[in-house]
Amino acid sequence: MINHVTISTRVRFARNLSEFPFSEKLTLAQGEMIIKKIEAVTSKISLGGGFELIRLSTQSDIDCIALVENHLISPKLLQNKAVGALILSKDQTISIMINEEDHIRIQVILPGQQTREAYKIAVEIDKQMESLGYSCSQKFGYLTSCPTNTGTGMRVSIMLHLPAIIRTGNLEKAMESCNKLGIAVRGMYGENSDALGHMIQISNQVTLGHTEEELLTTVERIANQIVDFELRLRKSMLQEDRLGIEDEVYRAFGVLANARRLKTKEALKLLSDLRTGVDMGLIKTVTKETLDELQIVVQPATIQKLAGRSLPTAERDIVRADLVRDRIEKRRRD
């Protein structure tokens, strides 16, 4: 389904190698052996343009945090930095976290709602890696460190931009219905985070007792219902106060295109308003791709990574405003 509300789809598999204890009981030497084994297998996979190994221990703190901001690793992997590693495909759609909570976390992220496509790629990678000998049983399926992932070990997440649902105070209602159906609703950066820039992630909570097909279908069905609800609310908001919405969108555009100082949360809020305007066809000079890129570029560690040095807050706000202006102007010139 093509819509403006769905930002991206993520499918991840949690896997462990049967010859090693889980991460909680893993020694540094064993962690290192796991990295080597996985690197040897993934170096033969050509999907996603080939893979590159990134050891967190060789990365600066800012670079590590930027990886989290880019959704390529989880904050949890930062805690296992000594033996934590990432295998990243050249096109950045496939990332394999090593020695996080589980030995292997295969993660595929695609733009828009592409659950089946992401699942297909994840299964391809999984099949090529299973020669390493996964921990599994017929009764409980894939055995994971945390019982909340046991079974399929699969988490399907869909990122949605929901300004109308949030602004009309309907998020709580949507969350309640989702929870009853075994679907978790979270803010932009996964567990426990606030809905920065009106970005919400929905995913399956249950991983055992259902086939992957059933889990994919459930998440897709709920996502479609939320998207429909969002679009209906947007339509009625537009009918009630078109001028008000237009005013907000153009104000956001004006500030983003001209500001000399921008704070992260302000930028995310304005980007959300601008995205709404782009979705509604009010702003035609900014693309969805630019917005997706800016969503990441405005994050604190990513800015410092782009600048190549640590920046104090005040300076960072200036660099952020420069980057946003540059991206918006560049696309307008193109």
Binding site: N16, S18, F20, P21, F22, E24, K25, S57, D61, I62, C64, I65, V68, E69, S74, P75, K76, L78, Q79, K81, A82, V123, E130, Y134, S135, C136, S137, Q138, K139, F140, G141, L143, T144, S145, C146, P147, T150, G151, T152, M154, L181, R186, Y189, G190, E191, N192, S193, D194, L196, L208, G209, H210, T211, E212, E213, E214, L215, T264, P300, T313
Partner: protein
């Protein structure tokens, strides 16, 4: 000390790093840690969610009445498992098997895997007879699903499918139940 990400708030979370034996830390404030999706490690909800009554007793610091089983492979006790919510190794699943059935039903509504396994496309198509491959021999203690258990699982899912008005899935499940009931007495 200020947070290394925002350089604004005082750092409250200190993430340990160990690079070539040299220990360093990343310092983040509560807000940045939360923004990045970090979770608190001390979560009171875990023991009660995982361990039921045993877990509640562990959570409030009371000793559990029964002797706690211990994994002979990694040394993790069942009590330790329910207090931090993580298994130590694949063998723990075999060691704690009796207690896991109820826990998985509480967590997932079921304690029986129906999805893929290594070497298969989909278990639904191949059925358990073909899924003989066990990657971890230590956990093969888990008993095989009987026909009755399978029927009960399908019936439970059928009720959910009907409730959610997913009639296509309901029809599929009904056919599976009929097919299983027609089969002989041996476990499938």
């Amino acid at each position: 000390m200020l947070c290394q990400r925002c350089s604004q708030n005082p750092a409250a979370i200190h993430v340990q790093r160990n690079i070539n034996g040299k220990r360093t830390q990343i310092h983040l404030c509560q807000n940045c840690y939360k923004d990045l999706g970090g979770t608190s490690s001390s979560d009171f909800g875990w023991p009660t969610l995982l361990g039921g009554i045993d877990g509640l007793q562990t959570a409030v610091g009371l000793p559990t009445i029964k002797q706690s089983p211990k994994c002979d492979s990694c040394g993790l006790s069942y009590e330790q498992f329910i207090s931090n919510g993580k298994f130590g190794c694949a063998n723990c699943y075999g060691e704690f098997h009796e207690k896991l059935e109820q826990m998985f039903k509480r967590l997932h509504g079921s304690a029986t895997h129906l999805g893929r396994l290594p070497g298969t496309e989909k278990t639904e198509k191949t059925e358990d007879k073909e899924v003989k491959k066990e990657a971890s021999p230590k956990v093969s203690k888990s008993k095989k699903k009987t026909k009755e258990e399978k029927i009960a699982d399908f019936k439970q899912k059928l009720a959910i499918a009907v409730k959610e008005e997913d009639y296509q899935l309901a029809a599929k499940l009904r056919d599976k139940i009929i097919a299983l009931e027609k089969q002989g007495g041996e476990s499938v």
